[in-house]
Amino acid sequence: MSQPADLIPALEEELEAELLPEAGQALRTGQRLRRYLPAILLFLLALGAWEMAVNVFHIEGFLLPKPTVIASTFVRELPVILPAGLFTMREALGGFVLGCVLGILIALATSRWSIISDGAMPFAIAVNSTPIVALAPIMNNWFGITNPLAKMSIVAVIVFFPVLINTVRGLTQVNDGALELMRSYAAGEGAVLFDLRIPNALPFLFSAFKVSSTLSVIAAIVSEYFGGSRDALGVYISQQAALFHFAEAWAAIIVACLMGVAFYLALLVFERLVMPWHVSLRAAEE
């Protein structure tokens, strides 16, 4: 994948070990606290430094609001930014599902004929490394600026390529010995697909899902910066920023972060349900 492939698994292991402890070795609460104490302390320290710096250097509130101000704004604005967040999340999810379904279907169709997938892969990989979100204004024109479909289609396009690429890889990068085994059973193509290729593709697919979950939230918000419904989080952020209401913008950004993380975690749980064997295999290999 053209995504930061090295970073993602490392991050994933961290998250997994922490949030779903039964996968790795379960850390006891005390151990866990001790392990994460430095990070928590550092975070609190940074917030304190931020707060102090704004006070000491008399930084204008509209340039960099204090964390305490952001926190109180967050609480005050929650009735507005939470529904906005959900609105945007729906776009991200809708686009995600659309992109995944298309990516998987096309991968299944093309990997059947290696000539097509071999020919198409370089293009898919090339397109995947372009800033697809730059298409946002065009989609806004096509579907209408307030139509959630405009954002969903951007998200879908962004999700489509990693899912397509990974699914094709998973379906085609099958162990030769495993294929010969199937051949020795005189297995039909259906059996090879369902008993070998698809299970083989699942880990590839989930790694695409996880990368795409983050991308889809980013894509939905960024495409809203180019204009969209008043109910959308990206529109809220860009409008508040334009009005120099930076505390409000920061509060909304917190919501965006939480959505991205929640989506990612939901996929980790889903992965565990679908492929318990793979999650434990990974844990065992560590």
Binding site: N175, G177, A178, Y185, A186, A187, D195, W277, L281
Partner: protein, 265 residues
């Protein structure tokens, strides 16, 4: 033995890889071999002499460039379609996403056995390889030797008439290897399956086989066949008996005679 009709009959088989290329490889030349029901045949020779190629030709994983391979009186291709082969390779190639039990059931699923029949067969096979208590484990939770036993159980699950094994114990340590050889002989005597077993270990070939087919390279051909009439059941003591050493010497001589012949040619 020789009066029963052969399970495998290889006649005049040649195999050339990359035919027409400048770097083509003559992997096998004029191979003739009959294997009789219930025999345990090993193919032995230095690496690159075409043992795997011959095994794969018999199993219809590749096609010969010339000559014919008959299995159970039909073409190798038809025999594969009739599911006459069980195969075990150096890598166990178990499916990560299946438990041990489900791995053994894989061929049965592909061959559309009924569910109860599948469960029963898998149970029976795991008992045969003495891994019943691991039926719900995943492959990565097993040692290499245990994985290879699962692969054997899987290959025997659909009662193939012919078991093709390509250096199945090649990746195991010496101790495990000797234990697995005993296991295999026990299974072979219980199931009465015909086995063709590829190895490059002379003691392994002698300990297991009823006949050792000695091969030599460039181009791959048969250098000789050594009858191994050591008494059965073979056991730990067999490896320390004088006839065992005599047979080892005989196989080694056969390999060396051919080397000398190739060198002087």
């Amino acid at each position: 033995m020789s009066h029963s009709s052969p399970v495998v009959s290889v006649s005049g088989v040649t195999k050339v890889f990359g035919e027409g290329d400048s770097d083509r490889v003559r992997a096998l030349e004029n191979i003739n071999l009959d294997v009789h029901p219930g025999e345990f045949i090993s193919l032995i020779g230095p690496s690159g002499c075409g043992k795997s190629t011959l095994l794969r030709l018999i199993g219809d994983l590749i096609k010969p460039s010339g000559g014919t391979v008959q299995v159970n009186g039909k073409s190798a291709h038809q025999a594969r379609l009739d599911r006459d082969y069980g195969m075990v390779f150096q890598q166990a190639t178990l499916y990560d996403w299946r438990t041990v039990r489900k791995n053994v059931q894989l061929p049965l699923e592909v061959m559309s056995y009924a569910r109860e029949k599948r469960e029963a067969r898998a149970q029976e096979m795991l008992k045969l390889v003495q891994l019943e208590e691991f039926s719900r484990h995943y492959p990565w939770q097993l040692s290499g030797g245990m994985q290879q036993r699962v692969a054997i159980a899987r290959a025997l699950a659909f009662e193939p008439s012919l078991l093709l094994m390509d250096e199945p114990f090649g990746a195991l340590d010496e101790m495990t290897r000797e234990r697995m050889q005993m296991e295999l002989l026990r299974i072979w005597s219980q199931t009465q399956t015909t086995v063709i077993f590829v190895t490059h270990s002379i003691p392994e070939a002698v300990f297991l086989s009823s006949r050792a087919v000695v091969m030599s390279p460039r181009p791959g051909r048969l250098a000789g066949i050594v009858e191994i009439d050591l008494p059965r059941p073979r056991a730990f003591e067999t490896r320390e008996s004088a006839p065992f050493f005599e047979k080892i010497v005989e196989v080694r001589e056969c390999l060396r005679r051919d080397e000398v012949r190739v060198a002087s040619a």
